[in-house]
C-alpha cells in the first residue's frame, strides 16, 4: 500500500504476556519512529531508526520494551511481560529524510487486562 501500515490494529493481552507490534513504513523511507499515545495525550517519543540503526531509544519506558528494524524497512516493537500501564495506542511514523514530515500509521491499540 501507499501508506504506513500497522498491525494488529487492536490487541488485548493478559498481564504478563508478551506482545509484538509491526510497522510497515512507506517504501524507501529512511527514518522510522515509534510513539506511545495515552488517551487524551500527545504522542510520547519511544525510539527512532535511521535505516537499520537505532539512533535513539531514550523514550522506551523500561527494559521490557524493545524495538528492531533489522533490514531498514519493517520494524517491530516488542513488549515483554505486559503491565496494565502499557495500555495505550502505539503509533509508527516514517519519513523520507531525516528531519522532515512524518507519515503516520493508524496505530495499534493495546489493552492489557
Amino acid at each position: 500500500g501507499a501508506g504506513v501500515s500497522q498491525s494488529p490494529r487492536y490487541k488485548v493481552a493478559k498481564r504478563g504476556q508478551d506482545v509484538a507490534l509491526r510497522c510497515d513504513p512507506i517504501s524507501g523511507h529512511v527514518s522510522l519512529f515509534w510513539y506511545q499515545q495515552a488517551l487524551g495525550q500527545g504522542p510520547e517519543f519511544l525510539t527512532y531508526f535511521q535505516n537499520e540503526a537505532q539512533l535513539d531509544k531514550s523514550g522506551l519506558p523500561s527494559d521490557r520494551f524493545f524495538a528492531e528494524r533489522p533490514e531498514g524497512s519493517v520494524s517491530t516493537l516488542k513488549i515483554q511481560r505486559t503491565q496494565q500501564e502499557d495500555s495505550a495506542v502505539y503509533l509508527c511514523a516514517s519519513s523520507f529524510g531525516v528531519a522532515g514530515e512524518l507519515f503516520f500509521g493508524e496505530g495499534s491499540r493495546l489493552t492489557v487486562l
Partner: protein, 112 residues
Amino acid sequence: SQQGEEDPQALSIQEGENATMNCSYKTSINNLQWYRQNSGRGLVHLILIRSNEREKHSGRLRVTLDTSKKSSSLLITASRAADTASYFCATVVDTGGFKTIFGAGTRLFVKA
C-alpha cells in the same frame, strides 16, 4: 518527555471564526511542524516551518515561529466544523540524529 506545550488545551469556537493555538518549546530546533489528529486516527502533517523562517502559509493555515521566545502559533482562518480535531506541534531537534517530539495538543471544537 514532551518538549512542546500547547495553549490552550481546549478551544471551542463557532464556524467561520478564526482559531489560534500556541506552542512553546524548550531547546533549539531544526524545524517545527504542526499535525492534526481526528479521534481514533493517526496524525496528519499540516505544515513545516524551518528555524530560519518566521511565517508560513498554507491555504487557511498560517504558522509563525519566534525562535527568540521559543514559541510558535497556528492560525486557522474561517474555521469549519470539519476542522474539529486535536492539533499538535512537533519540534525536530538534533540529538546526533533528528528526533521529532510532540506536545500535548490543543483540542479544537468547531460548532456548526
